[in-house]
């Protein structure tokens, strides 16, 4: 069971209250009428299958009903941070590369 921080409620809640809505930060083509089929297909269908740190969209469906982003490690399931839509995740210091955090 994951313990997820909702940045709208500002509290940790049980995973049962949330739904994962897949990969985050998928940019819609700015001019959909004139984009190529490949660009549109990339927007609609194609997703990363990341091993490691992954940004996801989550929905606090049983709570406040708001969406937010989560940075989660797909190997360990550890959630590094939750952050609001329209913001970028805080850079996380990589202990292995940069010495002690």
């Amino acid at each position: 069971m994951l313990h997820i921080y909702c940045p709208h409620c500002c509290e940790y809640r049980e995973e049962e209250e949330f739904h994962c809505k897949g990969q985050a930060h998928i940019a819609r083509p700015l001019d959909p009428d004139n984009c190529s089929e490949q660009e549109w297909a990339n927007f609609i269908f194609f997703r990363k299958n990341t091993k490691g740190q992954h940004q996801e969209l989550w929905h606090h469906s049983a709570g406040c009903g708001k969406f937010f982003n989560v940075s989660r490690n797909t190997i360990t399931y550890k959630i590094e941070q939750s952050y609001l839509l329209g913001t970028a995740p805080q850079p996380v210091l990589d202990v292995n590369k940069e010495g002690k955090a």
């Binding site: 409620c9 049983a62 406040c64």
Partner: protein, 213 residues
């Protein structure tokens, strides 16, 4: 892309008095529940049937909206996970831009009308009175019944009097608010209310349960 400019006229909509008058038949959603009454009960439940439920939405950053709502309700809209009582109104925070106001059913129409008269700009008022109902759970083992029903930490240090959380209740959802050390109020969907009633009776059976009507 389209050149249509949306015109938002929030006040231009049909508003009806949904409260049944004294001589028309109205039934609580729990009308068919068979309540067991223990003689040595330590958990009590009652339904505040036919309450008025109004959901108000607007941006907390919109000063005119916040001031207008405060003027109508006689209190500032509450912040995160909290509630305020003002006269016959109970205002609960549901999300950063959503509040639930409950009151005696007969007062809902007047409140809805006054909100629409006072508020301007981008906002939403919905009368959900028929869609949900209010339950009050009390007694010395009320907290123990909730321990079996919600996974939220309801210890008084984490969930003090007046705090409001939306969370799962058994297999459905509820808006839970603490009224006292052993007194809780649940807002549940009307279509799930018989399920909630059955769940509460089952969970409270070992402590002794009585329905207070």
């Amino acid at each position: 892309m389209s050149d249509i400019t949306p015109v938002i006229v929030m006040n231009d909509c049909a508003v009806m008095n949904q409260f049944a008058s004294d001589n028309s038949k109205a039934e609580s959603p729990m009308v068919n529940v068979k309540w067991a009454n223990s003689s040595n009960a330590t958990v009590f439940a009652k339904e505040l049937a036919f309450s008025g439920h109004i959901v108000l939405r607007g941006k907390p950053t919109d000063d005119a909206f916040m001031a207008g709502a405060a003027k109508v309700l006689g209190t500032e809209l509450p912040g995160k996970l909290s509630s305020v009582e003002s006269g016959e109104y109970v205002v609960r925070w549901l999300s950063p831009d959503t509040w639930l106001i409950t009151m005696p059913g007969a007062a809902a129409y007047a409140l809805e009308t006054r909100l629409r008269e006072t508020l301007t700009g981008h906002y939403q008022v919905v009368n959900e009175s028929g869609g949900q109902t209010l339950l009050v759970l009390s007694g010395e083992n009320a907290e123990n019944v909730l321990h079996k029903s919600v996974h939220y930490d309801i210890h008084i240090s984490n969930f003090p009097v007046g705090k409001v959380v939306n969370t799962n209740f058994a297999k459905t959802g509820c808006t839970l608010r603490r009224l006292g050390e052993q007194e809780f109020e649940l807002v549940v969907r009307r279509s799930f209310s018989d399920y909630v009633a059955a769940w509460i009776q089952d969970a409270a059976a070992e402590y002794g349960f009585a329905w207070q009507g």
